[in-house]
C-alpha cells in the first residue's frame, strides 16, 4: 500500500489486532482505525526523523540515537520501559553526586 497524502502504509488489520490485544478494548469504528493507523505512521516518521536530526552521525541511525530521544522527550515517557538507556559512567557519577547534594538540603 502506497502512502500519498490520504492513505496509510501500515496494514490496518494489524493495527486492529494490536489494539484489540488489550482486553478492555471491545470494538473500534473503521474511521477510528484509519485515524490510529495514520497517527502511528506519523509517530514513526517523527521519531525516526527527530532521532536522526539529533544524532552526531548523519549517515546512520542507531539504537542509541533513538534511546537518547526517548529519554529526553516528555511525550515519549511511555517508551521508557522498552528503551533502557545505556548511561555513561560520567553521568551516573554525576547523578549520584546530585542525589547526595539534595539529601544534604
Amino acid at each position: 500500500m502506497a502512502s500519498p497524502g490520504g492513505s496509510t502504509s501500515l496494514p490496518l488489520s494489524r493495527v486492529k489486532t494490536i489494539m484489540k490485544s488489550s482486553p478492555e478494548v471491545s470494538s473500534i469504528s473503521q474511521e477510528a482505525l484509519h485515524l490510529t493507523g495514520k497517527a502511528t505512521e506519523l509517530f514513526i516518521q517523527a521519531l525516526a526523523r527527530f532521532s536522526h536530526q539529533q544524532s552526531d552521525d548523519k549517515s546512520a541511525l542507531s539504537y542509541r540515537d533513538l534511546a537518547e530521544v526517548v529519554n529526553s522527550e516528555e511525550t515519549l515517557q511511555f517508551l521508557h520501559d522498552i528503551v533502557p538507556r545505556k548511561i555513561k559512567a560520567k553521568e551516573y557519577l554525576k547523578s549520584l553526586r546530585d542525589a547526595d547534594a539534595s539529601e544534604e538540603q
Binding site: G6, S7, A32, H34, T36, A39, I44, S59, I82, P84
Partner: protein, 183 residues
C-alpha cells in the same frame, strides 16, 4: 536493567508473550524508513526498537481512547476518541494530517455502499427517473431537429446568396437577359 511490561523482557526471544508476536510488519516499516531517510544506514536493533515503539504507541492511544469511550458508556471507539487521545497525550500535532485520512476512509466506505442504495437516498423512485430520462431524450431529439433545420435554412440562404451573386456577374457579362439560367 529496566523491566518490561508484566516483568517480561520484550527483547528476550525465549519469553514470548502474546504481545510480542504482534507488531506492524517489518516490511512496511522498512519501506517507511527508506522513504523518510533514504541512503541512511539503520541498524537492525534500531529497526526492532522502532517496531516496538510503534506497538507501544498503538496501545497508548487505544487505552486512552478506550477510557474516554467507556466513560461515555459507549462500546465502539470513535474517531473523536482517537483524536482527543492524541491531543491529551501530547500528539495533537498529528490531528490535522490524521483527519485527512478520514476523508478517504469515508469515500471508500461510500463507494462500497453505492449501488442500488443511491437511488433510494435521492428519494426518487426508479420509474420516475426513467420517465425523466425519456423526456430528456425527446427534448434532445427535438432540439437536434431544430438545429438541423436551422442549419439547412442557413445553408439554403447561403446558396441563394451565392447564386444571386453569380447571376449578377453573368448579367453584367452578357448583354441579353439570362435570368432563366439559375438552377
Amino acid at each position: 536493567m529496566a523491566e518490561g511490561r508484566e516483568g517480561s523482557d520484550p527483547r528476550d526471544p525465549n519469553q514470548l508473550t502474546p504481545e510480542d508476536d504482534l507488531s506492524v510488519p517489518r516490511a512496511a516499516l522498512n519501506k517507511m524508513i527508506k522513504e523518510l531517510l533514504p541512503n541512511i544506514r539503520v541498524a537492525n536493533d534500531a529497526r526492532e526498537l522502532i517496531l516496538n515503539c510503534c506497538t507501544e504507541f498503538i496501545h497508548l492511544i487505544s487505552s486512552e481512547a478506550n477510557e474516554a469511550c467507556a466513560k461515555q458508556n459507549k462500546k465502539t471507539i470513535s474517531p473523536d476518541h482517537i483524536l482527543n487521545a492524541l491531543e491529551n497525550l501530547g500528539f495533537g500535532a498529528y490531528k490535522a494530517e490524521a483527519k485527512a485520512v478520514l476523508k478517504e476512509a469515508k469515500a471508500v466506505a461510500a463507494k462500497k455502499r453505492r449501488g442500488s442504495s443511491r437511488l433510494e437516498h435521492l428519494g426518487i423512485p426508479e420509474e420516475e427517473l426513467l420517465r425523466q430520462q425519456q423526456e430528456l431524450f425527446e427534448k434532445a431529439r427535438q432540439e437536434q431537429a431544430l438545429l438541423e433545420q436551422q442549419q439547412w435554412m442557413q445553408m439554403q440562404q447561403a446558396l441563394q446568396q451565392q447564386q444571386l451573386l453569380q447571376q449578377q456577374q453573368l448579367q453584367q457579362q452578357q448583354q441579353h437577359d439570362d435570368s432563366e439560367d439559375y438552377s
